[in-house]
Symmetry: C4
Subunit: 207 residues, 4 copies
């Protein structure tokens, strides 16, 4: 059932994404985690406790969409259930990427949602074809009970199916796409707009 060439290609693409995110400062310490869908029932996901900027092939494992590792003694990433939620919610999702940036940490500690409007880069998000649009990226309160957090995210996404991505307060961004490349581009676009929002808020009258 395993396809070694598929696994090698996906892990190499995720390793490269991790290196880029590390250069940007978006995966400090052991923060962040990445996955790619293998088929309707399985995903490749980073193991718990490794540095996401310096991933090796051995740092990935296969898990089912309940988050259970398949043929692996390694522990899946602590937040595996959040990846499962996205893959179950939308069968078209091929990759889920989670990053910790300064901008997403600071914005998510201050706001209940991050409102993005008028940016050309909005066109990277699902279903948007003009800068003359607006989206709300929801912010969820952080919770060490990942099953409970995952249920809260799922309830929101059932209610607002066009949710383009979300942020956990003081913790980080979850974004996704049909491919690893598309998920990565959305991370780049969202982090760029978050940084703009953060810097813009410094130009305004303090509240």
């Amino acid at each position: 059932m395993e396809n070694p060439a598929q696994i090698a290609e996906l892990s190499h693409t995720l390793i490269a994404a991790g290196r880029l995110f590390h250069q940007r400062g978006w995966v400090p310490a052991t923060g962040g985690n990445f996955s790619a869908r293998l088929d309707t029932e399985r995903m490749l996901i980073t193991a718990s406790g490794c540095h996401k900027g310096e991933l090796l092939d051995a740092d990935f494992l296969i898990a089912d969409l309940d988050g259970q590792p398949i043929n692996s003694a390694r522990k899946a990433s602590y937040e595996t259930l959040l990846h499962c939620q996205v893959y179950r919610h939308d069968p078209a999702v091929g990759s889920v990427l989670h990053t910790h940036s300064i901008a997403n940490t600071l914005l998510s500690r201050r706001f209940e949602r991050i409102h993005l409007a008028g940016y050309e880069l909005l066109k990277l998000l699902p279903g948007i074809s003009t800068h003359d649009a607006a989206v709300d990226v929801p912010v969820f309160e952080n919770d060490q009970d990942i099953a409970r957090l995952s249920a809260a995210v799922d309830a929101h996404m059932k209610k607002v199916p066009q949710t383009p991505a979300y942020v956990i307060a003081g913790h980080g961004l979850y974004a996704w796409g049909a491919t690893v490349a598309q998920a990565r581009w959305r991370v780049e676009a969202l982090e760029f707009m978050f940084e703009c929002e953060l810097q813009a808020s410094r130009l305004e009258e303090p509240k």
Copy 2:
């Protein structure tokens, strides 16, 4: 009519510029696009939808100065007409580079023009030989109708021929030069001065 050595050299120079801009955070996601003039009627330009920090030879195509691809099934960059406008406006232009930076995004969302004065780096801009000068970089409202946007830019440049570069609000910078190197140096100089303006505005009394 094609000169493979010329095409290879120009594409390699544009690939290198893209890598540098990516390190700086100036071409997030699939943002930005680059071109170089081949002759009086044709240009080499990045294809639509690729990442400008990770360009391959295959990511370029040849188009005429109406933006029509020549012998290529690939789609030219979405904003090709903006490149055409600059090459038609000034036959001495050999390269046009478009970047999306945090600084140019933020300044262009706040101001109708970006006023630069007293910087040594102004000397990089066309026709300026002293820091004791001032230029206005015009800001155009973003528009998904690129033909209309291109016409607005063209009207401005006919009225103000010494326009050194321009910015599209919430979107990015267009700069150019006789060579790819000169265009890239102008991008570097302009982005540096934009970042100075952005940071200086935080040091002032909030307005």
Copy 3:
């Protein structure tokens, strides 16, 4: 008594940490110093006066836990006694890393302690398993008398054994861990949270 393979491995890991910190701007000029424990009585430590972003094998020496070089004509790092203090305080410590960042410099010039609360990355620090926690990173006044500074740190750590790391005002961070990797991850996590605190303080009403 020397184990060349152990020394080579530790020095290579410290060299890689230095390169990363240099890219981040955390070891400007000859700032910073790094060490790893060899056994209960000896450590490997960077020599005085070298650039920590461009370390060579020859830039390390072995010293005892009083800071005296063993079989080396090179001078140990100026702040060797601060490393000795940590190794003596906790036999489980395997590495001590010292960095100079903009954020730790600025925060330590303004505050007597750096209060960190509600960050997911707090989980990287010793004894913390939830973001719903708070720690105080103590700030010590800078002192060119390193023996006196080391005694002040030691008195504090005896009183507050769960001290996760500390900062010297206008100078830098000392962090540690069971391994070089763990110490480096803590540096990354702390510097990330310091940068968040610094940027957050700009969003508030000036005091």
Copy 4:
């Protein structure tokens, strides 16, 4: 009289410094210039108009301490006389480095001198052995007449021989040392402290 090995070693060290400064954003476009003393009467200096982050061996030329190229058709850097002034002022100087950073540009546009006090990194500057010190880095008004600017700098340095470095307003830093390495470390230390000063000024009540 030429020593090819000496010239190769110095140019390689300057090329490496340029790469680092470019990564940091301190030599945008063709900004900056670097030199190293060859003997009592000659220096190696970057040629005019090249990018200081991508220097090649061919981008250097030899000039006398009046700034006249020796056996070279290339033009010396525009600001060669400023290098000559430092070498003539102090025979112990072996290298002069000039950088354009955001921080030195912004501070020099606001202040007549940059006051640095209480930083551990002050110890990198000539004659300082404690953080408990203060220096003033003078700021000179920019002037396209380099002979006149050089005379102004020289008059200041004769009056204040312990001047550790200086900045030209809206233009950049000049720093120096006995070797290229020492000059580069001083640039790193000064740019670090400038960035601290810039960021600290944002934390204060706007003036």
